[in-house]
């Protein structure tokens, strides 16, 4: 444990004590799960809180950043480590801004500010990465992908990987960086870093898409600006690429993707699996445990999570941005193709802060691919009519569309339309996913 000055120690103790009191108060008054506020208050009492806490984590902090897949990857890595008997702090509720990270660490801290865990797995919002890496000095950083997400909050995605690279480059040389080789900007970032860099990516051309989808952010060379040549695309702009102008190309990967099975459904989960495997290997988890965890993995809430409701099978697929929804549609299509009867699909579109207040992105999603398959579509959420319009403009012939403003009605209707042996797929945005789960399981999780 790093040395801490007496003054800092006192401030830390005060901050921790206050935070714990706040957590207790919030929970006893049933105001929520206290996943953000205690951290925020404690930070004001001790500005270096994040640094003081994270340096106490015994074997190091693992940061997980990226637009999609943070929660599933974290959960997989966490399970691998826990099966080795390690104690983990993890911001499992998805509170991934600075105050959420602090709240997570505080929850594992005793009253004098002593943190006693082996590892901390911290999911970090892509915009917060540059702000927190210096304070946390993580042992491992996973850079999963960068897609268009919540443009209302960030404006533009272009500069994010540059800011990540700049911040990470200042970390100690023994930091391990695990970027996605198939994502051009991250591949480029990794190739520039002085640290130990291990890339993950797919080498499975049989999964190439037939065409590059519209919801693509980065098909221009991050090095020279020329448009990239793709030998094949796995999803969005992730694929096997090279630049015909400057020669920049996909970085060599550290593990062979064909040697690992994947968790859950959807090709995107193959990436999540590979990232977690590389991190686990670096932390000394044995290969048998890694493989066994993959084959027995259960979904994180709302991420391809499966429930049984009144004898019907329900699968919730969080869909919060164009790439995410395109990929969930691809996965749903595969399931529906193999089934004898077409079960309905329920979309729930909200526009609250955690969802992003701009719902324009649904027009970048290839909903046509799902609507073409036919069947009944049910829509709900704060922006139910926006989703309905998107589907109406996807239609070829007849569209069987049911509009339900009320979410309970929407879910009940969807279940009624689902044949007994078939799967109802629900595609919600983030806050909608929490509501859907609440309706289906009868309890709040956050």
């Amino acid at each position: 444990m790093a040395k801490i000055q007496i003054k800092d120690r006192l401030q830390l103790g005060l901050a921790v004590l206050t935070a714990k009191t706040v957590t207790f108060a919030v929970r006893s008054l049933k105001l929520g799960a206290a996943s953000v506020l205690p951290g925020e208050i404690a930070r004001r009492l001790q500005p270096q809180l994040l640094q003081l806490l994270s340096r106490q984590v015994k074997h190091g902090v693992i940061l997980i950043a990226g637009t999609n897949g943070k929660t599933t990857t974290s959960l997989l890595l966490r399970t691998m480590l826990e099966r080795q008997g390690k104690r983990i702090a993890h911001n499992a509720t998805g509170a991934n801004l600075e105050n959420g990270l602090m709240t997570t660490l505080l929850a594992n801290t005793d009253l004098v500010g002593k943190l006693d865990v082996d590892y901390a797995i911290l999911e970090v919002d892509e915009n917060v990465v540059p702000k927190v890496v210096a304070a946390i000095e993580p042992r491992i950083i996973l850079c999963l992908n960068l897609f268009r997400d919540q443009l209302d909050r960030y404006g533009e995605v272009d500069s994010i990987s540059q800011r990540w690279g700049k911040a990470i480059a200042t970390l100690p040389p023994d930091t391990v960086v695990i970027p996605n080789a198939d994502d051009p900007t991250l591949s480029y970032m990794g190739q520039q870093l002085p640290q130990k860099v291990l890339f993950f990516g797919l080498n499975e051309p049989e999964h190439y898409l037939e065409e590059i989808p519209h919801a693509v952010d980065s098909i221009y060379c991050p090095s020279c600006g020329h448009s990239l040549d793709y030998q094949g695309v796995y999803l969005s702009h992730l694929g096997d690429f090279c630049c015909p102008s400057c020669g920049f190309h996909k970085a060599p990967v550290a593990i062979n993707s064909q040697e690992y099975p994947q968790i859950l459904i959807g090709l995107y989960n193959k990436y999540n699996t590979l990232a977690a495997v590389l991190a686990a290997q670096q932390l000394g988890v044995d290969e048998a445990t890694i493989r066994d965890t993959i084959s027995n993995f259960q979904a994180a809430f709302g991420r391809a999570e499966e429930l049984h409701i009144n004898g019907k099978h329900v699968r919730i697929l969080l869909s919060k941005n164009p790439v995410g929804m395109n990929e969930t549609i691809r996965a749903v299509n595969q399931v529906r193709q193999q089934s004898s009867q077409l079960a309905p699909v329920l979309f729930v579109l909200n526009d609250r802060i955690p969802d992003g207040t701009d719902v324009s992105w649904i027009w970048d999603v290839d909903t046509e691919k799902l609507v073409d398959q036919g069947g009944t579509f049910i829509v709900s959420g704060d922006r139910v009519y926006d989703m309905a319009l998107r589907l109406r403009y996807s239609q070829q012939e007849d569209l069987q569309l049911i509009v339900k403003e009320n979410l309970r009605d929407a879910i009940a209707t969807a279940l009624e339309h689902t044949p007994a042996d078939q799967t109802l797929h629900i595609l919600p945005t983030y806050s909608a996913m929490l509501e859907v789960r609440e309706v289906l399981t009868g309890r709040k999780i956050l």
């Binding site: 221009y220 027009w363 403009y393």
Partner: protein, 286 residues
């Protein structure tokens, strides 16, 4: 859904003309570079509304691979928002005869809808938060300036009453009441209009610059706006105005548009007006 048309166009405006086969080409400006915020919804909306009426539609990308002849061949133009770097790549390509053709088309009344980044390219210049000023075509008399990385982005739901005189009249004639546009703005740059007419007055939101109450611009038959959403699906009368104008330009005779079922668009509009507590004149229904 049951089919009942909500949008009723006043039949006096239009007379039936027999044109055996109607074909329209939609030119889409730099689709992979300028479509960051769902603006392809405008293309989808125009295409579907033509197809539902039995027209043949072609969507032609006006990008690096397109020639001036391609630019010349289109009946409607759609341009979407772009990130700063992409906008630079576009402006490097949009030069010479291509730029000249686009300028002529717009000058001669080819209808178009240009959102966010696309209008910045039609104006005199755009000054991004970082980096150099990007020169535009100078076709529409306005400039756009990003006040810096620390300035707040203009983000939120946007309601605009169309004020551009001829457009306001033509839209009002179509729907029987003043036209209110509904959308979502999401821009860092601020636009100051010169002599060009504003598209509308801001009812809710910030519009061109958050100061003078104007939103967008209207020149010949080109609509420039900060409104994503995308604009057309929730303002289907604007889509139909663009189609109508394109048909008139191409076939030199009025062609009546058959009404479509816009019940969902109307519900989406009502829900947003209600949420924003915007009072709009009741849309006349026959």
């Amino acid at each position: 859904m049951t089919a009942f048309p909500i949008t009723h166009y006043h039949p006096t405006v239009l007379t039936f003309m027999k044109v055996t086969k109607i074909e329209l080409t939609i030119g889409w400006l730099y689709p992979t570079l300028m479509s960051t915020y769902g603006d392809r919804g405008n293309v989808i909306c125009l295409r579907k509304r033509c197809e539902w009426r039995g027209y043949t539609v072609k969507v032609l990308p006006l990008d690096q691979n397109a020639t001036a002849v391609d630019f010349q061949s289109v009946d409607m133009i759609v341009g979407g928002g772009a990130q700063d770097r992409q906008q630079e790549i576009v402006m490097r390509d949009l030069r010479g005869t291509k730029a000249e053709t686009l300028r002529e088309k717009i000058d001669n009344g080819t209808p178009g809808v240009f959102t966010c980044g696309a209008p910045q390219l039609l104006g005199h210049y755009y000054e991004p938060a970082l980096g150099q000023r990007i020169e535009g075509l100078g076709l529409l008399d306005f400039v756009s300036i990003h006040p810096g990385t620390n300035a707040r982005r203009c983000i939120g739901n946007l309601v605009v009453e169309v004020s551009a005189k001829r457009l306001a009249q033509e839209l009002a004639a179509m729907i029987g009441s003043p036209a209110y546009l509904i959308g979502f703005e999401n821009h860092g740059g601020r636009t100051k209009l010169g002599k060009v007419e504003a598209l509308g007055k801001v009812v809710q939101g910030l519009g061109n610059n958050g100061e003078d109450g104007t939103e967008g611009a209207f020149y010949q038959n080109a609509i420039a706006t900060y409104s994503h959403g995308p604009l057309l699906p929730k303002n289907p009368f604007v889509a139909d105005w663009l189609i109508q104008t394109a048909l008139r330009q191409k076939y030199q005779s009025p062609i009546s548009l058959s009404p479509l079922n816009d019940a969902l668009a109307q519900q989406a509009r009502d829900a947003m007006f209600q949420r924003l507590r915007v009072k709009t004149p009741v849309i006349a229904q026959n």
